[in-house]
């Protein structure tokens, strides 16, 4: 029963792909605007075997992009989680910082690019900074919300057992907020991965990056490679999320 359910979830996307290919083959969808699924798959093959630019392998593009995202994401978690816990825990801090946070948060990472280049120059650091901005706010906000929504009764129970501030903070507040923090991490990573293309607009010195690769594909007008690149980004983002979910399930097995 489970097996069938899983397979039937693939049914709809598969049908869509077939329909798309049919419409393309019939010439109803011009391939200069929308390449067919077959063209895209052969495009991905080309990206993997030949590389774009020629000789730059898809693997290296993925790897470099992963490095940038890891750097930005790790910074965002390293700052966002402790800061979020403090903001959730201390009311005066919350009152002080909330207006600033809420003003900066709506600014899209893309808009920070000129500043990023000004501060960090062209290359890895400014790209990681843009990604950091994408990851940071979901992580921060989820952490704050996680701390604020800790069941008061757990803290009271700890108090009556004799726990002081530090013990309550480390052994009740933080573990209780962890599910929310994990959610924030997953969302943050997803958004950070999405800002990859924008981040690589800051200039790629190493010559590798999925966003960079898509830019080249667009420059030489290969929409099939553009979409192939997009598909790769989507697939990798999906795999990253799956990995995080697995980690979450292991660490939060008590749920």
């Amino acid at each position: 029963m489970n097996y069938f359910k899983e397979k039937s979830r693939l049914l709809f996307p598969l049908l869509l792909l077939l329909l798309w290919q049919a419409v393309s083959t019939l010439g109803l969808l011009p391939s200069s605007k929308i390449p067919s699924p077959v063209q895209i798959i052969s495009g991905i093959k080309e990206l993997a075997l030949v590389g774009l630019p020629s000789g730059s392998s898809l693997f290296m593009h993925c790897f470099e992009s992963l490095l940038r995202v890891t750097a930005g994401f790790t910074m965002a978690a390293a700052i966002g989680i402790p800061l979020g816990i403090l903001i959730g825990w201390l009311r005066f801090l919350r009152n002080m910082l909330t207006p600033i946070i809420e003003t900066i948060r709506p600014i899209p990472p893309l808009a920070w690019i000129p500043l990023a280049i000004l501060w960090f120059g062209i290359g890895f650091k400014s790209a990681a900074f843009i990604i950091f901005l994408g990851c940071f706010f979901p992580i921060l906000l989820s952490t704050i919300s996680g701390v604020l929504s800790v069941d008061k009764i757990l803290i009271e129970a700890a108090k009556t057992l004799g726990a002081k501030e530090k013990k309550i903070f480390l052994n009740v507040l933080v573990p209780a907020a962890t599910p929310s923090i994990f959610t924030g991490i997953r969302i943050g990573l997803g958004i950070g991965w999405m800002t990859l293309v924008a981040a690589e607009f800051t200039g790629v010195k190493s010559g590798y990056g999925l966003g960079y690769m898509i830019m080249v594909a667009r420059d030489i007008q290969r929409p099939d490679l553009v979409i192939g690149g997009m598909a790769t980004i989507g697939l990798m983002g999906y795999l990253l999320d799956v990995a995080l979910r697995k980690l979450e399930a292991r660490m939060l097995q008590w749920r």
């Binding site: 009556t160 939060l252 008590w254």
Partner: protein, 254 residues
């Protein structure tokens, strides 16, 4: 250790200082050492508030709590508390929950585990030490909560309708269980409940609150020797007396 509440009052004011609610009105109470005291009263009369003040979770507006004549400044750890909603730490196993209080006393891991297992087995939860709370029934959870409190050796244990979330069969079983625990440990227990049967079955004395703002209007010694039979005439007599007191309280307020 005798517990004394002297002139306890609690008034809640809202932020503007305009509206205020008197939750507790002048409580004076003395609890003997080792006494099992039940507290009954209409909803919202302040019994939980009194309990929380004793535990240090809230501050009284006037009055104070005294143990052996000394004002109780820092009740944390001296007064145990069992909540209706169990309040187990969901990320900790049964054993880790029970060990919590011992961690505060810097007892090393192996020793903690050993002591926790002692209680777990004694309370009939053997085999569940590495289970998470989400896999436990309500009755089991409350047993873990009681073990968690008991292991820290508090002089007084407060219980706020601890069996309120349980079905009646589990409830009865846990009442038997609690009685055994009390008989073995002789802790002072203050037990808030809505269930008159429960109060009569468990306690040596029952106090009754008036409607809000609550004050103590009834203090009834239950003179039935153990084991108490819930169907006996004596039992019924006490039950009726408390019931009529409560009925008076609800109409008095109108």
């Amino acid at each position: 250790m005798t517990l004394e509440l002297r002139n306890l009052r609690k008034t809640y004011t809202d932020g503007t200082g305009e509206g205020s609610v008197d939750a507790l009105s002048t409580i004076n109470l003395t609890v003997r050492e080792g006494e099992f005291l039940s507290v009954v009263g209409p909803s919202g009369c302040g019994k939980s508030t009194m309990l929380r003040i004793i535990a240090g979770l809230e501050q009284p507006t006037t009055g104070a709590v005294f143990i052996n004549g000394e004002q109780l400044e820092d009740p944390w750890g001296r007064v145990g508390f069992v909540f209706q909603e169990y309040a187990l730490f969901p990320w900790r196993t049964v054993s880790e929950n029970v060990e919590f209080g011992l961690e505060l006393k810097n007892i090393p891991g192996k020793e903690r585990r050993r002591k926790a297992l002692e209680y777990i087995n004694k309370f009939g939860m053997g085999g569940f030490e590495d289970t998470y709370p989400r896999d436990l029934s309500g009755g089991m959870k409350q047993r873990v909560a009681i073990a968690r409190t008991l292991i820290t050796n508090p002089s007084i244990i407060l219980m706020d309708e601890p069996f309120g979330s349980l079905d009646s069969q589990t409830r009865n079983a846990l009442q038997e269980f609690l009685l055994t625990v009390w008989q073995n440990s002789r802790k002072t227990i203050i037990f808030v409940t809505h269930n008159i049967d429960e109060a009569v079955f468990l306690s040596q004395r029952v106090i009754g609150f008036s409607d809000r703002p609550g004050s103590i209007k009834l203090s009834l010694e239950i003179g039935i020797p153990a084991p108490r039979d819930r169907t006996s005439a004596d039992f019924n007599r006490y039950r009726k007396e408390i019931l009529s007191f409560l009925q008076q309280q609800s109409t008095a307020g109108r």
